[in-house]
């Protein structure tokens, strides 16, 4: 659907802005607030994880020379504490993150954790999170209907659960499908490639709906997630999936920092590239830096 692209607004702007030399000027950077390099921390704790993992990177001012995209930075001291004990995560150059096995520092529901990141030359950052309690899934509903926008039938899934009363809860729903498919393998030079059977995994698509929810105005009630579409490979309007087909649904009870960060990223994702959309500012619970230190408790 490209027809709205032809709306005359863009044409008009192009017409009016045609005289590039006459009407376009570079703004001197002196007139602008310069962004600074800040540490970006992303670390999500969960009692279900077998490892505690943190990614540390750097933000770069928008204006000026663009170096290669900032990857994960080595050399930082990433320390996690829970009031009784602490652990320093170690950097793994192959995995590209800082980590420690969960058995060395168990993550428990209802407990509060603090994290700090030190990297010489940059202001240090810190953040806290309290791990939510688990909320079980009561029902998973599967449903099929004519696939909107595509030929054939689409399969949809909803997750249902009961919200714990008298507390504010934030949730994320997610899921995946695992099925047998075909993988293309390139042949040796000069030889044709071939298809070999392989297991494939795709995620639930939430399309215009958001997989992030709160219990606002529904405290203590039965929660029903928006429907997610199951992801499969299609060919000529028919699903190409060999058994066994596995559908896994997850319900995450997440903390507020996790919810706000992920929800903003989701909105940002939906409107990226749309010049008519309002900019989305991504909130952060990391003091002195950017990113998110969040936690969740997952039910499968």
């Amino acid at each position: 659907m490209t027809f709205l692209r032809t709306i005359p607004l863009l044409g008009l702007l192009l017409l009016l802005v045609a005289c590039e030399n006459l009407l376009v000027r570079e703004v001197s950077p002196d007139e602008l607030t310069r962004g600074e390099n800040k540490l970006v921390l992303q670390c999500y704790l969960s009692p279900q994880d077998t490892a505690i993992v943190a990614a540390v990177s750097l933000s770069r001012p928008v204006l000026g020379e663009q170096a290669n995209a900032s990857g994960v930075l080595p050399g930082a001291t990433v320390k996690l504490e829970d009031g009784d004990q602490s652990i320093t995560l170690t950097y793994d150059a192959q995995k590209l993150f800082y980590w420690a096995p969960a058995r060395q520092f168990p993550i428990g529901a209802g407990r509060t954790y603090r994290i700090s990141v030190l990297l010489p030359g940059y202001p240090s950052v810190r953040a806290t999170t309290t791990v939510p309690r688990p909320v079980p899934i009561t029902e998973v509903q599967l449903d099929s209907s004519a696939n909107q926008g595509y030929p054939g039938v689409g399969y949809y899934v909803r997750v249902l659960w009961r919200d714990p009363a008298d507390q504010v809860n934030f949730y994320q729903v997610a899921g995946d499908t695992e099925y047998g498919g075909q993988e293309y393998v390139f042949g040796s030079p000069g030889q044709p490639g071939s298809f070999i059977p392989s297991r494939q995994i795709g995620h639930f698509f939430y399309e215009e709906n958001s997989p992030f929810l709160t219990d606002q105005e529904r405290d203590g009630g039965l929660m029903v997630s928006p429907r997610g579409r199951l992801s499969f490979a299609y060919s000529n309007g028919k699903i190409q999936a060999d058994p066994p087909i596995l559908v896994r649904a997850y319900l995450l009870n997440v903390d507020e920092g996790y919810y706000r960060y992920h929800q903003a990223l989701e909105r940002n994702n939906q409107v990226s590239g749309n010049p008519f959309a309002e900019p989305v500012s991504i909130p952060s619970n990391v003091e002195g830096g950017l990113g998110c230190f969040g936690s969740f408790n997952a039910a499968k």
Partner: protein, 807 residues
């Protein structure tokens, strides 16, 4: 409590006054009638009718009617005066009720000197109303304009307290309010989208207008429904004496107005039309360029028409209408494929008004009003099949709009020179169509029809009194009771209004006012320019009515010998439940308009509060060979929304610290007029990204797998996405805006008509004012890239010439 106290004071005032007058028990008689323009019989609005040597007087209403009740006396001398017209003095024997119709001769038909001397009665210091600006239509025609297209709204932007939005746009921002908070009425009908060509021109054709008035504070109770301003325009009735015409040929548009009597002295008509013709000129070029495969173009037109019939002193009937449309179209074709795209939007209004005089002191008007705004997109493509009858067609139509049907009844009662009472009611049925989609696709054999309409009712009941308790006090007090009903929810809100003036000296007064306003319809717009996709939506159970409270105080001074008026005002306004888009919201879905209707507009908006305060200065000269004004505004506007900017207050885009306008018109001689305007405004407050970083949300499900195993990183983190850090919302200030326009008009009277040549320069010193800013990458040798911020301007110096005629 506060409201009832004000009401109590009012009643006590009435009683005391009644007591004071009873002992005299003088016989009183009424002089009433109409004031019209000599030569055309056009009713004149706002003519001051004064008993010479006293402070007793009144003002003609929208239909030119006045009524003055005075104690019986042998001789009463009345003066009738209006800016631009020669003052008329009449003596009347007041031993019985008298009907007196007056004709005023326009200054254009007289030597200028005679007009300027007679301004005694028309003083800004005498009126209880403040924060009000009336624009003489003749002055609008002399002020330079972009491409020579005279624009009422752009002239209003030159007034203090009124700001423009982006370069060249007609959007009006009054005292910290947005363009959605202006009540724009044309002959009693609300005009919902006043823009042509994406806001570069307004829909109002100056040739068809008789009066333009803007109120930005101290609102009289008869107006309601918007928070920030009332822009009231009245169309001319048409010449009742003879057939006349006026027209012009410009660079982008031409216009023609014809008026004349239907039945001489009783009935007249007016028809006015304007159309752009860029499409007519470019279409052949596009056809040649595309070898006959493509056509396309854009045009807009306006059509105003009015018909009236005078049944005598007691009854008059007016029928008026406006119809305007913008249309963009394109068609591409080759041997197998035809694609048509259309985009159109427009307003239609119609008003039927009946004036009835119950008595010499009681005037009534009944209006039946229709207003419709519609926006539509259509796309139709046909792919020819291999065999006949196998063509595949795809059709999409998207419409949105608002339609009003309203009934308005107003009574003007003039019991004594101390009181002018107005009361009335208005009931409007709104039909909102936030979206209507029809989709037909033969390939997948689907037909989708979705129409969402919302019906709501809005009404208002008002009472106001212009009261002169003593020779020094002028008070306009009133109450409006507004009501709105939609989707099982109702709102009833009282809106007290009060404004008053105390005359310190005959040419100096202090004024103060208070007004509370409610707004039940909201405009969703996330661009600063006047796009036709801006959507009107009602108050619902989730979106509360917007409300404002405004206090203003000021000083008005007349410099009678020089013909100058000076007003100085300060205001403080609070606004609650104002709405804005949530972060990331957009109604323009670039890739898939079919999903536009699935985005619920209520979910896309968030409510907050705002406050604005500032000071305004206006030094104005309306008549004489040299006329014009200096307007200056110093203001602050802030918003606070729980869901925007982390709940912290921020400056909205159009917060403007300084705004200055200088306008001058000089008639060198009867044949040559030179005019110029210079504007300066603080830059807009915008949001700019400060830094970029990589966001890694949590991977929740098993990582994607299509063959090969995912990396360890992907078991914990999902996609990598570069996002921006914005800092505080709207913390970047665009460069200041300033611009000089000049124009030179040459008039010549020929045997049967008068012609005018106008040469004008828009942005005479070619200032590159910012239209928008954008980040872009600049690549240099060695393949390194540098990101810079670029400022885009729209209009450099633009010369234009127009030819005008009048007969």
């Amino acid at each position: 409590m506060k409201h009832s106290l004000v009401f109590l004071c009012w009643c006590v005032g009435w009683l005391l006054e009644a007591r004071a007058q009873t002992p005299a028990a003088l016989k009183r008689y009424t002089i009433s009638g109409y004031v019209r323009e000599a030569g055309s019989q056009e009713a004149l609005i706002g003519v001051h009718v004064l008993q010479a040597g006293t402070s007793a007087g009144t003002v003609t209403n929208t239909y030119g009617f006045y009524s003055l009740t005075l104690p019986a006396q042998d001789r009463v001398t009345l003066t009738f005066s209006l800016v631009g017209y020669q003052t008329v003095t009449r003596s009347v024997d007041l031993r019985q009720n008298t009907q007196l119709t007056i004709e005023l001769t326009s200054g254009q038909q007289l030597a200028e000197v005679q007009v300027t001397g007679n301004r005694e009665a028309e003083k800004v210091s005498e009126s209880p109303q403040m924060s009000q600006i009336s624009l003489p239509v003749s002055q609008i025609k002399k002020i330079p304009a972009l491409l020579g297209e005279k624009d009422v709204l752009k002239v209003l932007q030159l007034m203090p307290g009124v700001q423009k939005g982006t370069e060249g746009q007609t959007g009006i921002y009054v005292r910290g309010g947005g363009p959605d908070q202006n009540l724009i009425i044309l002959d009693d009908a609300v005009v919902y989208n006043a823009n042509h060509l994406f806001g570069f021109f307004s829909v109002f054709n100056g040739d068809a207008l008789k009066s333009v008035e803007l109120i930005k504070g101290g609102f009289p109770a008869r107006y309601g429904g918007r928070l920030s301003s009332v822009i009231e325009m009245n169309m001319k009735e048409g010449n009742k004496e003879g057939f006349h015409g006026e027209g012009g040929i410009g660079l982008i548009a031409s216009r023609l107005t014809l008026e004349g009597p239907v039945k001489k002295g009783r009935s007249s008509f007016l028809v006015s039309a304007r159309r752009t013709y860029l499409d007519v000129l470019t279409q052949p070029l596009i056809l040649i360029e595309s070898k006959g495969q493509s056509t396309g173009g854009y045009y807009f037109y306006d059509l105003n028409a009015k018909l009236n019939y005078d049944f005598g002193q007691k009854d008059k009937l007016y029928l008026s209408g406006y119809f305007g449309q913008d249309k963009f179209y394109s068609r591409d074709r080759d041997n197998t494929f035809i694609n048509r795209v259309g985009l159109n939007w427009g307003n239609a209004t119609a008003t039927l008004r009946w004036n009835h005089l119950f008595s010499q002191r009681l005037f009534s008007n009944t209006s039946l009003i229709f207003s419709n705004y519609r926006f539509g997109i259509s796309n139709e493509s046909t792919t020819r099949g291999l065999q006949p009858g196998n063509d595949e067609t795809y059709t999409l139509r998207y419409n949105s709009g608002i339609r009003d049907v309203a009934l308005k009844y107003d009574l003007d009662f003039y019991p004594s020179p101390q009181h002018s009472l107005r009361l009335g009611l208005q009931a409007t049925l709104h039909r909102f169509t936030p979206s209507a989609i029809v989709l037909r696709d033969s390939e997948v054999e689907r037909l989708k029809q979705e129409v969402e309409t919302i019906h709501s009712a809005e009404s208002g009941l008002y009472l106001e009194d212009i009261w002169k308790p003593t020779a020094r006090w002028r008070i306009n007090g009133g109450l409006r009771l507004s009501h709105f009903a939609t989707r099982r929810i109702q709102y009833v809100r009282p809106e007290p209004r009060l404004s008053g003036a105390y005359i310190i000296r005959p040419d100096l007064s202090v004024k103060a006012s208070y007004a509370q306003m409610n707004q039940y319809v909201h405009l969703l717009s996330n661009t600063s320019i006047g796009l036709p996709t801006d959507l009107w939506v009602p108050t619902t159970d989730r979106i509360k009515p917007q409300q404002s409270r405004q206090v203003a105080a000021g000083l008005a001074k007349d410099f009678t010998p020089q013909g100058l008026t000076l007003t100085l005002e300060g205001y403080y306004k609070t606004m609650s439940n104002i709405i804005s888009y949530r972060e990331g919201a957009s109604f323009l879905q670039l890739d898939n308009p079919e999903t536009a209707n699935e985005v619920r507009w209520e979910d896309n908006t968030t409510a907050g509060r705002g406050w604005s305060y500032g000071g305004e200065l206006l030094l104005q000269k309306k008549v004489g060979r040299f006329s014009g004004w200096i307007g200056y505004t110093l203001s602050w506007t802030q918003w606070q929304f729980a869901e925007l900017n982390g709940g912290r207050p921020f400056y909205p885009r159009y917060d403007r610290r300084h705004d200055l306008s200088l306008v001058g018109i000089y008639e060198i001689n009867p044949r040559v007029t030179i005019s110029g305007s210079w504007v300066y405004g603080t830059g807009q407050a915008l949001t700019m990204p400060l830094a970029n970083y990589t966001a890694n949300p949590r991977q929740v499900a098993e990582p994607y797998r299509y063959g090969g195993l995912p990396s360890a990183f992907n078991y914990y983190f999902g996609y990598n996405r570069t996002v921006s850090e914005y800092g505080e919302r709207n913390s970047f200030r665009a460069e200041a805006y300033h611009r000089l326009d000049v124009s030179l008009q040459f008039h010549k009277k020929k045997q049967h008509h008068e012609r005018t040549w106008e040469f004008s320069l828009y942005n005479a010193y070619s200032r590159r004012n910012p239209f928008f800013y954008q980040l872009s990458d600049v690549y240099s040798i060695g393949n390194t890239s540098r990101t810079v911020l670029k400022r885009y301007s729209v209009f450099p110096i633009i010369p234009s010439f127009t030819y005008g005629f009048k007969f």
